[in-house]
Symmetry: C2
DNA sequence: TCTTGGTTTGACCAAACGGTCAAAAGAACG
DNA sequence: CGTTCTTTTGACCGTTTGGTCAAACCAAGA
């Protein structure tokens, strides 16, 4: 039975996780040092290790916290809703995640770039099964003529790519846009893009 | 006047750059060690440093080589060509780059994730000016009714995101697709996507 | 063959790294 | 106040890191 954490424990654990997220999301696991995290958290290195047993423990805690919510937007895709609206809503949820949690997005990107050493199993199991399941739904919509015929897997990849790009490549986006705000234009553009892609046209033969 | 490199120099320099690309593209600059590169290149560490003066020199050489060709596909976008075909061709060129040079794409992604410490100036100057220039062309096409009205900047971002995703998130894409080949489906999907997005419809008012 | 210049390496260095520990400092509470 | 438990830290440890260097090795032309 574990005791309830004191308020100092709460504060410092939160500070360490936030500092770790800052540094890990920028430099990846191997490129991050405990001293960097300690300084960002405003603690000494031994004090860090009083709250977390190792560098890897901080990293693992962050990845676990991330994965708790990472798949939620896709899980919420509802087979009984209006198809185009369901997908547009998914795009909006992912874009909001990118805007509100860019460090988490970059932490994930770093993990994937490194070959997903910690979460490869989750990708091959949880993620794959979830995408397979949702791909069936989307394929059903396409077969029923409710959306234009489209490869469901690449449709989902496109949503990941387009939304996470604004968090992961933030520096580049801002360098190009100057002082214009990225996310307003992005929301309009993505709405337009998926509306045009998915709204069925006369050319798309409808099923009975 | 520098002497012509011997064949051993050519071979070893190439081996070091290839090995460096392998490791840097996976772990980033800080997460990469000289020993890793040396082992991947099949050389001893002091021998590495006989060909390159420092770890940073290898990294810089790789970034410079990358940037030589990185912007070419966008530069080739031709104002006098057919608008939809020009953009589709740009998408195909970028997708081919992603397929044929995935390590370079990941090296770039790592640099951006780290805040672009080496190439921030290039992003703010060369890249921004190039995109500004091409955005004018695309805006002109839209104003003339030759493509559907669309934000040129986010259009370009979308092409970057969608094509580089297949290289940068390769592990995730393959985990989801299983043994299916990513790039065939991607090419079809992207063709379809940009055709639908850009082909003007009756709803888009044409200019005189 | 010998010599010259390019190539390779074992041994080494100082700094940075992840992590430990005992002891000091501080909070909490009767 | 004194006691107990939590928190913080300076000093330290073994390893890894980027990098150096003199010496050994080797290829090739005269």
């Amino acid at each position: 039975m574990t005791k309830a954490p004191t308020r100092i424990q709460k504060r410092n654990r939160a500070a360490i996780l936030s500092a770790g997220l800052d540094v890990f999301s920028q430099y990846g696991f191997r490129g991050t040092t405990l001293d960097q995290i300690a300084e960002a958290a405003g603690l000494s290195k031994p004090n860090l290790l009083y709250y977390f047993p190792s560098k890897e423990a901080i990293h693992t805690a962050l990845l676990e916290r991330l994965l708790e919510n990472w798949l939620d937007p896709l899980k919420a895709l509802d087979a009984s809703g209006d198809p185009v609206q369901e997908i547009s809503a998914y795009v909006r949820r992912k874009l909001a995640l990118s805007k509100d949690f860019p460090r988490e997005s970059r932490l994930f990107a770093n993990e994937i770039l490194q070959g997903a050493p910690w979460i490869e199993g989750i990708l091959r199991n949880d993620l794959k099964h979830l995408v397979d399941e949702k791909a069936v739904i989307i394929q059903g919509w396409a077969d029923a003529g409710k959306i234009a015929p489209v490869d469901p897997y690449h449709l989902i990849f496109s949503i990941w790519a387009l939304t996470q790009h604004y968090a992961d490549f933030d520096v580049q986006v801002r360098a190009v846009l100057g002082d214009r705000a990225p996310y307003d234009g992005a929301a309009v553009f993505l709405d337009q893009l998926y509306d045009k892609l998915l709204t069925p046209t006369q050319a798309d033969g409808k099923a009975e």
